[in-house]
């Protein structure tokens, strides 16, 4: 039980830290984002109503008479209510609405691709670590090369070859724009078709890390006494490999999965830029290019919350697969 309490407390602290970071970044850095934002807003013919301005000010900081502490408290209040202000680039939609439409795309693409990459990496790593001293060892440096390649460069090359030259995949987008989004077979099929290449690029560039980590842990765990016991018991090799060696070796990878999610989301920003995918990453860049600071910060917050939430889930899962954490917590 203590384990769970500690975990929840940690993520609350992390969430608070992210909110605070979000509050201070625009106040510490040069420039006056509120004025830029208001100017943009009036260009677009938006009426600058005082409450909108107030929301911006709370989020981005300005030379108001209010003390920093009061601003901070009101800001936290706004965040808890989910009031992230109004988007300038998608005026007059509220930031939360813009995010809500983009988020499912990213979650599906990145979620599935990451899971596949993790699964492949673990399975391959298990074999490579178990069959140490065979030709499989050469897979390790090979996948390392893939991890050292700049992701977008690899993705663009794949697009040039697989989409432009051979026409196997669409060039960009998240679905056939002739279709209207909805829960029907045709649209979902199109979304899967459009998502395959982006997902493939994510898997290719990240599988090496999982493979290496799992392989190294397998090398350690096959040297453990319980594997020797299993051999002495006359168990089949496949059972020793899975139930004894891999079952123990996978623990650090699962713990690492949580940490890697942050990097995965980061990668998604670039993926979506390469493929003009309608997810939250391309919205973030769109916000940056249009100085839509409110949207930008809202997205940063949502991404952070999503990553923290996923981390929490993984931590809870970890307690299930490693019985020792439940007592020693």
């Amino acid at each position: 039980m203590r384990y769970y309490v500690r975990k929840f407390a940690f993520y609350l602290v992390a969430l608070w830290a992210a909110l605070t970071l979000n509050f201070f970044i625009p106040r510490l850095l040069p420039g006056n984002p509120v004025d830029i934002l208001m100017a943009r807003l009036s260009q677009r013919g938006g009426t600058v109503d005082p409450s909108a301005r107030r929301a911006f000010e709370l989020m981005l900081g300005t030379n108001s008479s209010e003390s920093l502490f009061q601003q901070y408290i009101s800001y936290l209040g706004n965040m808890l209510r989910g009031d992230l202000g109004i988007s300038v680039s998608a005026f007059p939609a509220p930031v939360s609405e813009v995010i809500a439409t983009a988020l499912p795309w990213t979650l599906m693409l990145v979620g599935i691709a990451t899971f596949l990459s993790f699964a492949f990496g673990i399975v391959l790593g298990t074999f490579v670590g178990w069959r140490r001293g065979t030709w499989l060892d050469s897979l390790v440096p090979a996948t390392t090369v893939l991890s050292a390649v700049p992701y977008f460069w690899l993705a663009l090359l794949l697009v040039a070859v697989l989409s432009s030259a051979w026409g196997w995949f669409p060039l960009q987008g998240g679905y056939d724009i002739l279709l209207s989004p909805g829960w029907n077979g045709e649209f979902i099929g199109s979304a899967i078709y459009y998502g395959t290449l982006p997902a493939l690029t994510i898997v290719i560039s990240s599988v090496g890390g999982w493979l290496l980590g799992m392989r190294n842990m397998m090398v350690s765990s096959t040297a453990e006494d319980y594997v020797l016991t299993a051999k002495a018991k006359g168990l089949r090799d496949s059972r020793i490999m899975i139930k004894y060696a891999a079952r123990n070796a996978v623990l650090p990878s699962v713990a690492g999965f949580a940490i890697s999610l942050g990097f995965v989301v980061s990668g998604a920003v670039i993926t979506e830029q390469v493929f003009s995918y309608p997810g939250i990453g391309s919205k973030l860049l769109q916000a940056v290019q249009n100085n839509d600071y409110a949207l930008m910060q809202g997205i940063f917050l949502v991404i952070t919350v999503a990553v923290l939430g996923a981390n929490l889930v993984v931590d809870l899962l970890y307690a299930v697969i490693d019985p020792r954490t439940r007592v020693s917590g």
Partner: protein, 608 residues
Amino acid sequence: MTNLSAVTVEPPRGRAGWRSMLPRWSPKLGVGLVLIALITFLGVIGPLLVGDPNTIRDISLTPPSGDFWLGTTWTGQDIVAQLAHATRGSLYIGLLVGVMSTALSALFGIVGSYIGGYVDEGFNLFSNVMLVIPGLPLVIVISAFVPADQRGMWTIAVVLAITGWAASARVLRAQTLSLRNRDYVAAARVSGEKPWRVITVEILPNLLPLLASQFVFSVIYAILSEAGLSFLGLGASNSSTLGTMLYYAQNSFALQREAWWWFVPPGLIIALFGCGLALVNFSIDEIINPKLRDIPRRSKAEASRVPEPVSRTDDDVVLTVNNLSVVYQVENPVHAVKDVSITLRRGEILGLAGESGCGKTTLAYAINRLHRPPAEVTAGAVTFHDREGGDIDVLALTPGELRAFRWSKLSMVFQGAMNALNPVITVRAQLEDVLTTHRPEMTKAQRKAKCEEVLKLVGVDVRRLSSFPHELSGGMRQRVMIAMALLLDPQVMIMDEPTTALDVVVQRGILREILRLRDEIGFAVLFITHDLPLLLELADRIAVMKEGEVVEYATAQDMYEQPAHPYTRQLLDSFPSLTGERGSFVRSGEQMTPVDRSGEPTASGGVR
């Protein structure tokens, strides 16, 4: 683990220790260093040799030629010249970030964990929070707030360092915590050395490989991240890096115009540099964890052992080991077991005694063919004389036959049951998989009944079946191991230091149990220990091993009354005696008779 593991690992500390900090030479390391050297040369010397990268010519997008080795850009600039300058920029960023983030992670990881207490808790919490906040979105947000004209190389480097140090800090913290508790560090602290001195003199040198690996990692991270940022248009302004080069190439539709010579080389340089660093990192990792070293590929050729199984001479014998030799095939081969012959009679306890590293564990493992490469049986035979008749040449069994032989004829109880049980699955699962493998015809109910039966035999509550190993006390774990060894009613049980690391009371209880079970069930035991006096009261016959050879082989009675070999006498004398008389170490033998087993307080209720 085996007594001979000392042959390969743990470099000595001290002056010789410095040499162990250097990577071992390997082809991977060589290739990595060459890649790094070539690209560094391009970045450092290259810009002095090429022309101005910004000269615009009216030859747009010409393919590679004699004049322009890698062709020209959209505006006719020489790509080789651009590459040289861009490489310099990227290396500069990589170096800056590498230094800064390694310094940050050292500060938060090493200093925090060395000081300990609240500082450590605070630093650790901070590192963990920084780790879970997604890096690139944060970098994007920060970069977006800094106006483009103020966004130089240094700004980007600082932002990347701030968002990239946390993972290393965690690794360094874990390592420092373990170093901090080592004897020589504790000694330095107790003798009143100043904290900064302890850190720099005692701790830092041991962390160097780890720091180097983290540095290399952060350089790769920085170069890749900078390229990503530049690609998004958020890189350093007024500077030239491989990332900005790719940005311009992409925005001039280099790929769509099939100008691969513009788009491919910058990415390739990043990839090769990253690859070079990663290869060097493999070598550094092998210093940190020697287990990761490449082992030579397994050769198909079996050792040239002449099969010489011994046919049974006497129905009373269950296991014959004949002239067995085991060699560790390392650079200077170690002859761990030399020409050893022993016989084990049915229902007898044969003791195998000797100091650490004498080869007794290697011998025990070789009997069941559990020795791992580089250990290899070079001569001799192991013959098992089955009570159903027939002799089994153990060393000649096929892998399938060997699996069937193990545990059903000969089971083992390992030293220190701590790690011999799988920590993440229940006791029941570990008992049952023996039955599902060897007795597939058993029903679920039969398996359950059998598991409960063996646990009762060793005096463990059957409710412990659903426990995990960490929930049992040391004595209980060892009892569970013995129960597991009894599952298939084996004829021989090899026990490797089964009572070492248990306190004396628990040890007594377990030994009494072994004697009782032997009397009831009638298996033979090969009992391995360094404790010769213990064997004198427990075993029927004893073999004393020294440097791989059996130097004395006699009944316990004879060995007690007239030890023949000087080494045996030495072993007997080395145990302290309360009265000063040799022989008084023998612990009163009467207690060892298997009568009651209530004497062990932790056996039934000892949940930790």
